[in-house]
């Protein structure tokens, strides 16, 4: 169980995240949605302690993570960032092994090597294990990065939950790999000891894959609940400043969100 209480983070005088309070249960996939600048990435960074809040606390399993050591934290939570830039190219296998860094000393053990092989197979990058990362396509790179991130928390821990965070993981993937990726995230997140929280842009994708949605607007939580509770016209109009059309797929009952192109009002310009 992940719990954020009254989280506030400011840049100058502006609050990027403003008093956010929310709970994220294990075994479910939680997705954060909102417009650009709504504070999604900042919230993820606060939840992972990549940045520290000016006010409020983050609790993993009921314990405040504020004073945990970096390594203690890294054994339990993994983060996939928007775009990872590798300074010096290296073989894919070595990059995936970095995910095991918090778990071994100078050199990897047999279980670390075994986990790397397993995650590479899971993400279908095992056939490029010896290739140089720099020669891969954008989508292949993203799959390798996800393999690295999952290697970090691949096996359950004794008496502690595992935490997975994804900050816009779909950016470089084509539609087939987006769906494939979301299915894998969902099946990983369905384990009873995994708390998975992600940021995605595509609302239809969010509706289809998430168990729990958090809609952010100007650093505040505007709506918090199931996809059906959050993806309502009034909330979406307030958060994105365009009119949504909500469609339901008659075959599956899934909710889809499209936006009317006519009302392309520029945000921030005063009404006349």
């Amino acid at each position: 169980m992940l719990r954020a209480s009254n989280l506030t983070f400011r840049a100058g005088s502006r609050a990027l995240v403003d008093g956010a309070t929310a709970g994220f249960e294990a075994g479910r996939l939680h997705l954060i949605v909102g417009a650009n600048g709504a504070g999604k990435s900042t919230l993820i960074k606060l939840l992972t302690r990549l940045i520290r809040p000016h006010e409020g606390t983050v609790e993993y399993d009921g314990a405040d993570i504020g004073h945990w050591s970096e390594r203690e934290l890294a054994r339990r939570r993994a983060v996939l960032s928007q775009a990872v830039e590798v300074a010096f190219s290296m073989p894919v296998r070595e990059l995936v092994m970095m995910g095991r860094y918090p778990h071994f000393g100078a050199r990897p053990g047999a279980s670390d090597l075994h986990i790397c092989e397993e995650v590479m197979r899971y993400f279908e990058v095992d056939d490029m294990a010896d290739r140089s990362y720099g020669t891969l396509s954008g989508g292949e790179k993203q799959r390798v990065q996800f393999a690295r991130v999952l290697a970090q928390i691949w096996h359950p821990l004794e008496s502690a939950a595992r935490y997975l965070f994804l900050d816009e993981p779909l950016t470089f993937l084509d539609i087939r790999h987006q769906i494939d990726f979301m299915n894998k995230v969902r099946s990983f997140a369905s384990q009873p000891d995994v708390v998975a929280v992600g940021v995605v842009h595509d609302l239809s994708l969010a509706a289809r894959f998430s168990d729990h949605l958090l809609l952010l607007h100007q650093g505040r939580i505007l709506a918090d609940g199931s996809p059906a509770e959050v993806l309502k016209e009034e909330y979406l109009r307030a958060a994105f400043q365009v009119s949504p059309v909500l469609l339901t797929n008659p075959a599956t009952g899934e909710r889809h969100v499209v936006f009317e192109p006519a009302e392309s009002r520029v945000v921030g310009r005063p009404d006349t």
Partner: protein, 343 residues
Amino acid sequence: MKGRRADRFWLLLLFVLMMVTTVASIRYGAIDFSSHDMAAAVYGKLAGSNDLTLDQRIFIQLRVPRAILCLLVGACLGVGGTLMQALFRNPIVEPGLVGTSSGAAFGAALFYVFGALLKLNLGGWTLPLAACAGGVVSTYIVFALAHTKHEGRSSILRLLLTGLAINALFMSGIGFLSYVARDPQARSIIYWNLGTLSGADWNAVLVVGAATVLGLVPAIANAKPLNALMIGEEEAVALGVNVGRLKWIILTINVMMVAVATAFTGVISFVGLIVPHILRILRGPDNRFLILGSALLGGTLLSVADLIARVSLRPAELPIGIVTAVVGVPVFVSLLRTREYLS
């Protein structure tokens, strides 16, 4: 593990290469020594004999410490380059970048100008001390100016740019000092800026040797967190690295190694830039291999350069900074062209 065994093989190969160049370096020079001469000199010294010949004394008091100093300074510069490139995640960084070597050069220039002006009777330690102090002061200025309350993603970039700016400032200071200096002092400044090992003695070996060991041990101990930094500062934090602490450890190691080495030999550029690249092209970017490897290859490269500097214009010698590029560039450029390093 296969990769690890290959790393050991490469380190052994680099070590053998270093020993071979060292033997060549102590054998040839203004005077060539045969293996018999060398053995006799070492035996005479070890036996505590007082009637060594002039040649034997040259060998023991100049040639051997110079060869060893060469290895140590090359090691410091090579390791400094590896550490800085890893820390800044940037391939064009060299160890002097945070202001250390230009500050040391400025300290040396001040020594030449004011030492002559005030007709001070200065002992052999004053120049290294002035240079080392200059290096430490300039680096401190860079750190103080780059430090802000809002530590974040841009902190390393800010340090890099501040270093560039302060380097430019100290270079113009050196330019000014050599402009106002009288001719012999101005020549000394220029000569020092090209690097020279002609001042090598056993004291220098001792001090630079201590700096090399004190730097290498913590550098190797931090090789794994440095690897994590290759995929980004935030990613390294996510992998459990205390990036703030790592940054200070690595910068401190680099400043100590580069300031001390530069203090005894002047500014030797290019070694710290290309040594890590040559090794990365050959073996990849794993710092667990690169740090020790760049100590060995840095020493080897500087030894070869010093040998060429001493024999090419016998009995005179060239400043080593003129030779390092001539030795290193052909190797570097041909490797860059043949491997898919920059893809």
